[in-house]
């Protein structure tokens, strides 16, 4: 019968219309600003820098300014300047740190390639998405201070990944300590060994921190 297809279609529409009032599966709208969406753990938007200690964020950055992410970033939105001096990192080893670390979030496309290539677990993906500003340039250019967030924050947004990273870093640190201990033992056993190689290290340690 001509028109039966249309009637069938109207029936479907009516079912959906009525269903949207009492069937939660058909009621899919979220009242957004009042009700926030539940983001999946894997959700990513814009990178941030991880620091180990929230009380001293810039002093405990994991980043050593190796500039790998700057080189690999497809839209070239990362800008890094290395420091001239060195600061001890979490394990106490003196490391270069980023004197300037800036990400232009108006260019960043949240592809997370910087996270994948980072050998130090220093840069991770954030979950912010309400980042609208009225200033196109300055407000969207995030500097080192704005980018740095503590490891505890990383744990709240990506708990699984953060736990993995922490376990890996702890294992690395333990292995390094073990190696240092074995080396120290070997050194103690061979007191006749020439002391020359150790001298420059000792000398460097004596240089004042506030060199620049």
């Amino acid at each position: 019968m001509l028109g039966s297809g249309i009637l069938q279609g109207l029936l479907v529409t009516a079912k959906n219309f009525v269903g949207s009032f009492h069937d939660p599966a058909r009621y899919t709208t979220l009242e957004y600003p009042e009700v926030k969406p539940a983001l999946p753990e894997a959700y990513r938007n814009f990178p941030f820098l991880v620091c180990d200690n929230a009380t001293d964020p810039l002093g405990t950055l994991r980043c050593v300014a190796c500039q790998i992410c700057e080189k690999e970033c497809p839209p070239q939105c990362i800008y890094i300047e290395k420091s001239r001096d060195k600061k001890p990192d979490a394990t106490g080893k003196p490391q270069i740190y980023p004197a300037v670390f800036a990400i232009d979030t108006s260019v960043c496309m949240s592809c997370q390639i910087c996270v994948e290539v980072c050998p130090f677990d220093a840069i991770k993906m954030d979950q912010v998405f309400e980042v609208a500003t009225t200033d196109r340039y300055a407000a969207l250019l995030l500097d080192r201070g704005q980018l740095t967030k503590p490891n505890t924050y990383f744990h709240t947004i990506h708990p699984t990944e953060a736990a993995e990273v922490d376990a890996r870093l702890a294992a690395d640190r333990q292995a390094a300590e073990e190696k240092a201990r074995v080396a120290a033992l070997a050194k103690a056993k061979a007191p006749a060994a020439p002391q020359a190689p150790a001298a420059p290290v000792a000398k460097r340690d004596q240089t004042p921190e506030s060199a620049p």
Binding site: G3, S4, Q8, T28, P40, P74, S110
Partner: protein, 388 residues
């Protein structure tokens, strides 16, 4: 239908003509670039005799950003997120096509689990694309809103799956050379299974809404007929080609990935008109569901990445490769030329919706402007891919 096509403008001439150029009382209409029916910034210069189209010239390039030049200045890995932005509905298949081309270029093996996951994601993408296309096509028919909203409701469920796996709804950046980035968890696979189980009933409902609708039949049947010979010669691929009755699906012909292990049928059309193109996509979705069920059931354990594959400092030896897969819109291929450096010497995208537009004028001649809108809708273009 008695209109004779006008001769092509001479080589090098601009398409846009002054009124004096047109014989008789022909009229020239510029549809687009800002027009809701052109699915983006696409322009058609239509010459009309009354309401009948006698010439139609597509104008491209409003979204051109020279994707290929960008890729020549980026590492092989760095181009992967850019492929998401070609056909932004189908980032997973774009990723796969690019990864496949690089894997052919460098001879990288892919673990079995990754091949299965790729199939699962590609078929989910096909569901997503075809659902959207059906919704948009109805929108183009003048059926404002309802089918499109139903389609988008289901699409959002697939996008939620993509988001919980890759971190992003549409710009997934998920595949890597030699595998995939993240291993899907058991919870994710259960969610995918649940979606697959619920998709059949949705398709039934969607078809009850549309397939037998008399207005839809009147608008689409016999409109925009494409012959098999022209489709083959013009390089038309994907559902467009199969709607003309040509049995050519790369999943069967090339048998890439693990597709030969699955049982599925290739739906074929008879008339090559808009209705057939719509119907082919609905039927393909049902076959995709069959593939998904088999792939989810047979997913093996094992590594998701080839451990020998390098992420950083990847420099394939000099040579070239053309890798292609069956994307939802047709054959998506990448032609890569390497000179041994870290960046490709030449990177070319074979964009299915761009090449499928070759026959747009042939399909539209003799029809009305309102028909041109649904013919364009049935070709299924995404301007991010057409203009690159």
């Amino acid at each position: 239908m008695n209109a004779t096509p006008l001769a092509n403008p001479s080589s090098g001439a601009h398409v846009r003509s002054v009124p004096g150029d047109l014989p008789g009382d022909l009229m020239e209409v510029s549809m687009g670039p800002h027009h809701p029916s052109t699915h983006g910034v696409f322009r058609m210069i239509v010459t009309l005799d009354g309401e009948t189209i006698v010439r139609l010239k597509p104008v491209f390039g409003y979204l051109h950003r020279n994707h290929e030049k960008l890729a020549e200045n980026t590492s092989y890995l760095g181009s992967m997120p850019y492929t998401d932005r070609l056909d932004y509905l189908n980032s997973m298949t774009n990723n796969w096509a690019y990864a496949r081309a690089v894997e052919q270029l460098a001879g990288i093996a892919v673990p079995e689990r990754a091949e299965y996951v790729r199939v699962i994601l590609a078929e989910l993408t096909r569901l997503l694309n075809h659902t959207c296309l059906a919704g948009f096509l109805m929108q183009d028919c003048g059926c404002s809103g309802t089918p499109l909203m139903y389609a988008f409701r289901e699409r959002e469920k697939i996008l939620d799956l993509f988001e919980s796996l890759s971190g992003s709804r549409m710009m997934c950046n998920y595949q890597r050379f030699g595998g995939c980035r993240v291993d899907p968890s058991a919870a994710w696979l259960a969610a995918a299974q649940q979606l697959v189980d619920g998709y059949g009933p949705f398709l039934d409902e969607f078809e009850a809404l549309l397939t037998g609708n008399e207005i839809l039949l009147a608008r689409t049947q016999g409109v925009g007929r494409l012959s098999a010979a022209l489709a083959i010669n013009a390089g038309v691929t994907g559902p467009m080609l199969r709607a003309t009755g040509v049995n050519y699906d790369l999943r069967k012909v090339d048998g890439y990935g693990v597709y030969p292990r699955f049982q599925f049928r290739i739906p074929l059309g008879e008339h090559g008109d808009v209705y057939d193109r719509y119907m082919i996509r609905i039927l393909e979705m049902r076959e995709s569901l069959a593939i998904l069920r088999q792939a989810l059931a047979g997913l093996p354990a094992g590594p998701i990445m080839n451990p020998a594959a390098k992420l950083r400092g990847f420099r394939p030896k000099a040579g070239e490769a053309y890798g292609r897969i069956e994307g939802p819109k047709g054959e998506i291929g990448f032609h890569l030329v390497s000179d041994g450096g870290p960046n490709p010497w030449r990177y070319h995208v074979r964009a299915p919706s761009f090449i499928n537009l070759t026959i747009l004028e042939d399909l539209c001649l003799g029809h009305t402007v309102a028909d041109a809108v649904i013919i364009l809708g049935s070709i299924d273009i995404v301007l991010g891919e057409v203009d690159r």
